[in-house]
């Protein structure tokens, strides 16, 4: 986030990493509440989706940052949409695979 800064940049990445713990504990709570019965592969799917989602956003904005305006928006629109749809699909699957014990 702070490329030319000696201190802020590493700090930023550490914080971002730390935040991910919150993200997934939060996600875990939601999963528990809606009794998705998460397991390792479900989590890895979700995790992978999350990673690619963030990377897509970052990538698109990198293009915007280096003044590739067109490309930036198109990538965001194209890949982003695909990912959103994919996310919905994953959610659907998780709900369908809900273990049906009370």
């Amino acid at each position: 986030m702070f490329p030319q800064s000696t201190l802020l940049d590493p700090l930023f990445w550490m914080v971002l990493g730390a935040i991910q713990v919150l993200v997934f504990t939060g996600a875990n709570q939601w999963a528990k509440e809606s009794q998705l019965g998460m397991n390792w592969w479900k989590w890895s799917v979700v995790g992978f989706w999350w990673l690619s989602f963030i990377l897509t956003i970052a990538g698109a904005f990198t293009l915007l940052g280096e003044n590739e305006g067109n490309a930036g928006w198109y990538v965001l629109g194209f890949v982003g949409t695909l990912l959103v749809i994919g996310g919905a699909a994953i959610l659907k699957v998780l709900v369908l695979l809900k273990p049906n014990h009370p």
Binding site: W73, Y74, G80, V84, I85
Partner: protein, 408 residues
């Protein structure tokens, strides 16, 4: 709250006004058009100074110091999505192609651009027209390509006749006008009607089957679903002079006919590829139906469609005035605005069922318009029956009421 009668009256006014507006637009367009072709051609001379027309499709350029013409400019036309594409080809007196110019096209500009960017024309520059020209196609815009190639070949031929005294065109037949896709369209449509009529318990399943297959065939495979531009082409009569692709037009006319006959619109529910896409996404995100019942939301799309059609008529170029997300969705073709629109529509339809259909789709205004006038016409007919006038009138009134509710 206005009384139904009052609204009905204003609707009648509106429908009359819109028709007259369309006529007006057409008329203004015809005034605007002037024959600017010859001075366009004038810009295409290379070595020649003086341009003289030999016959309607052929010009010759002569330079001061030489008697024999230094170059010829042939005109040719081909038939694309929206109608005729005009091309001029400048050929040296030895018969080498020196310059190609697209004078006019009625195709959606993004399709045309795709063809032009593919520099398929650069390949024929410098070729000699003694031999027939080999021009390869462009994936994703076949019709525009064919239009262009036909036009170029025609233009070259009119020069060929002049310079070498023989023609090569007769062995090349014009674009085939009736293709299996058109048959497909008719077949699918009849199926759609049947499915809508049937009382079978698997009805909805059948419906899905048609929807999906139509999404594949008329959507992702051929991207030949109709749009406001098709409506424009229909009313502008551009199809008299022929079209490169009739599928969408056929679909549209079938839909219209069926609405007129049976007052029902089967397209949206069982055929529309974009509708199908939205349905799929709705299934994915368990989207629920909701709609906006408000005077503005009802009338804005109508105004929009009317404006678009008027513009299409005025510029004599209906194909370049479509505003639907279809082009992007099924062919990644269209302006950046439409790209954004498409993305929005797709994402929204994960939450709301068929957002596009509930908002701007030109299909609703068209259906409403036809239905309303159908109703109106019927009522007039009935009024003419002198007997049982009042009773009839009352009946009509509440039928009209119903129809309004349907149309909202």
């Amino acid at each position: 709250m206005y009384s139904k009668k009052r609204i009905d009256f204003w609707k009648k006014v509106a429908s009359l006004v819109s028709v007259s507006l369309l006529l007006l637009a057409w008329y203004c367009g015809s005034i605007r058009i002037s024959d600017n072709q010859s001075d366009m051609v004038d810009q295409l001379l290379i070595n020649g100074e003086l341009l003289t027309q030999i016959h309607p499709r052929l010009y010759q350029g002569t330079s001061a110091n030489e008697l024999s013409p230094v170059e010829f400019i042939g005109l040719g036309s081909g038939i694309g999505y929206g109608g005729i594409t005009e091309v001029a080809v400048t050929v040296s007196s030895q018969g080498d192609i020196q310059r190609v110019a697209v004078l006019s096209s009625k195709d959606t500009s993004s399709y045309l651009d795709k063809v032009l960017q593919s520099n398929l024309m650069e390949k024929i520059l410098g070729e000699n027209i003694k031999v027939s020209l080999e021009i390869d196609g462009v994936s994703g815009a076949t019709v525009s390509t064919n239009a262009l190639t036909d036009a170029i070949k025609q233009a070259a031929d009119s020069v060929r006749v002049q310079v070498f005294g023989f023609s090569m065109l007769e062995n090349e037949e014009p674009v085939s006008h009736f293709r299996w896709l058109d048959l497909m369209a008719i077949a699918m449509f009849t199926m759609a009607i049947l499915v809508n009529k049937t009382r079978h318990r698997k009805k909805s399943m059948f419906n899905w089957a048609i929807l999906l297959s139509s999404m594949c065939v008329f959507g992702f495979y051929s991207s030949s679903l109709f749009s406001s531009s098709t409506m424009g082409i229909l009313i502008s009569g551009a199809w008299f002079s022929g079209l490169g692709n009739y599928t969408s037009l056929i679909l549209l006319s079938l839909v219209i006919l069926y609405i007129i006959v049976s007052n029902r619109n089967v397209y949206c529910t069982s055929l529309c590829p974009f509708g199908a896409t939205q349905e799929c996404l709705a299934k994915l995100g368990n989207a629920k139906t909701t709609s906006l019942t408000n005077f503005f939301f009802e009338w804005f799309p109508r105004g929009l469609l009317l404006t678009t059609l008027c513009l299409g008529l005025y510029f004599r170029n209906p194909a370049s005035f479509s505003y639907e997300p279809f082009g992007i969705m099924f062919g990644m073709i269209g302006s950046i605005y439409l790209f954004v629109l498409t993305v929005l529509a797709i994402v929204t339809s994960l939450v709301v069922k068929r957002p596009w259909c509930r908002t701007l789709c030109p299909m609703n205004p068209m259906t409403d318009f036809i239905r309303f006038n159908r109703q109106w016409f019927k009522s007039i007919l009935n009024k003419q029956r002198a007997k049982r006038e009042i009773m009839e009138a009352n009946q009509m009134a509440d039928v009209a009421v119903k129809s309004n509710e349907v149309s909202k």
